[in-house]
């Protein structure tokens, strides 16, 4: 069995070079907290906004 989540989340704003832009890194947006193949438990964070 499988659960598929599809959701909308902010991409965040791209950091400027002066702010320490690191190749596509965005601030304030969605970021994943898991890796592919990782085992997870109910209540564990998949990502943060």
């Amino acid at each position: 069995s499988t659960v598929v989540l599809v959701f909308e989340a902010p991409k965040g704003k791209r950091r400027s070079f002066d702010e320490g832009w690191q190749g596509g890194e965005r601030k304030g947006g969605w970021r994943w907290a898991v890796e592919q193949g990782q085992k997870v438990k109910v209540g564990q964070a998949l990502g943060y906004v």
């Binding site: 069995s1 499988t2 659960v3 599809v6 959701f7 909308e8 592919q36 193949g37 998949l46």
Partner: protein, 427 residues
């Protein structure tokens, strides 16, 4: 036999050229005919001269290796129902504990987490499979900006949705429309309530500003630190634990509705609902969580959100093992699944439990009408799928239901983060 083989004279003759050409021509004829037939099924043109004839329908079998081809010939739903019936048989009392312990050893079940310490309580494997856990063994991430894992399992795939395409595993993609069904109309069901004003985009934006004002007004009246986005992450009163406040979310939202009514705002909740289209500076993301046979098979709400509508796709019940996900393209769009569409604080949100051969029954706690993989109580989707199967056609439709709005603000069934939503049952 040996003597006959030894003494028989073998004489070789050349095959006539005409026979060879005829054979190749026949082969080519069948290939072209098959290709044209396939095109007519997919909605393309009919073979020349057959314009007046209805297209010849054939059952489309999924492409893939021989294991997939064999699997596609099996009556998987019947197998799943038989499996469910078998696992519903009562196990003799003295065999229960060794049986469940063996199962746990094979599939890695942590028995110390099971709510019932006495395994004799479970009369069969189906009830053990749908077990509950001890309170507190699955603590929720304290950060309210986190999206929580809905189930125990393994992350198979995650990422951003590009141009409406969801990547299954390693480059295999399928469309969002295929997975969730076509995009619902721009306004949700509760907008059609008599007397409720219809919203245009500009009206919606205007409504959002008004809603924020109402929100602030509500906060001022009640002394609650409560902002619009927090409505979906659970309002927090200063000095009170989050859990107790979450429990009163329904009452709080009713209060918000009252404030909105006082300010004569009408229903402006639809402006959040922009399915499949992310707002500017937003994007659509997806994550696939695979539950192994030994995992806890109930699923929980990953965040505070509102489920507005349910779509039941009565498809097939292929296994959803990582191997088959790699080898069977569009597996999630073939299998039976329940799509819950709604919204959370950042916009569109959908939750889709996908069934499999061993766990064909999907239970949604707040949806008593839903019947999946049921022979006795076939749903409209099941019947439509069965009729399509009789005609040899693939069934891509679904039956849809909308959840009655709990309040004019929410417009659907509200779910708090970590709340148990349902689960997968054997067969």
């Amino acid at each position: 036999l040996a003597a006959a083989l030894k003494r028989t004279k073998i004489q070789w003759y050349p095959i006539p050229v005409g026979l060879g050409i005829g054979f190749l021509g026949l082969l080519q004829f069948y290939k072209v005919r098959e290709r044209e037939g396939q095109r007519s099924i997919e909605g393309g043109s009919f073979p020349a001269g057959d314009e007046d004839q209805p297209p010849k329908r054939r059952k489309i079998r999924p492409s893939g290796p021989w294991q997939v081809q064999i699997m596609s010939t099996l009556p998987l739903k019947a197998v799943s129902r038989l499996w469910g019936w078998f696992n519903g048989l009562e196990i003799p009392y003295y065999l229960r504990v060794p049986g469940f312990r063996l199962y746990s050893w094979i599939f890695g079940v942590n028995l110390s987490e099971v709510s019932e310490p006495d395994l004799h309580v479970y009369p069969n494997l189906a009830s053990f499979f749908y077990r509950t856990l001890k309170p507190g063994v699955r603590p929720l991430d304290p950060d309210h900006n986190a999206l929580l894992s809905p189930a125990d399992g393994r992350i198979l795939q995650y990422g951003m949705i590009q141009e409406g395409e969801v990547e299954q595993v390693k480059g295999m993609t399928y469309s969002l429309d295929g997975l969730l069904g076509q995009k619902p109309p721009g306004e949700s069901e509760h907008d059609s309530v008599p007397g409720a004003p219809k919203q245009s985009n500009s009206r919606s934006r205007h409504g959002e500003e008004e809603l924020i004002k109402a929100d602030e007004e509500f906060a001022r009246l009640n002394g609650i630190s409560y902002t619009l986005p927090n409505m979906f992450s659970g309002p927090q009163k200063a000095g009170q634990p989050t859990e107790s406040v979450d429990a009163s979310m329904e009452a709080t939202n009713s209060a918000v509705a009252e404030v909105r009514a006082d300010l004569a705002l009408g229903d402006t909740s639809s402006h959040w609902y922009a399915p499949y289209d992310a707002k500017p500076h937003h994007a659509l993301y997806f994550v696939v969580v695979y539950l192994a046979p030994g995992d806890y098979h109930r699923f929980h709400s990953p965040c505070s959100w509102v489920a507005e509508r349910r779509r039941h796709f009565a498809g097939e019940l292929y296994s959803v093992s990582p191997y088959l996900q790699r080898t069977l393209p569009g597996l999630f769009t073939l299998n039976e699944r329940v799509v819950l569409l709604g919204r959370w604080r950042w916009g569109f949100f959908s939750f889709t439990p996908v069934g499999a051969t061993n766990v064909g029954s999907i239970v949604i706690n707040f949806d008593r009408e839903l019947r999946t993989n049921s022979l006795l109580t076939d749903t409209a989707a099941d019947r439509a799928a069965a009729e399509a199967a009789k005609r040899g056609e693939p069934y891509s439709g679904f039956s849809e239901a909308t959840y009655a709005p709990a309040s004019r603000v929410l417009g659907g069934h509200a779910l708090t983060r970590g709340e148990e939503m349902g689960g997968f049952q054997l067969g």
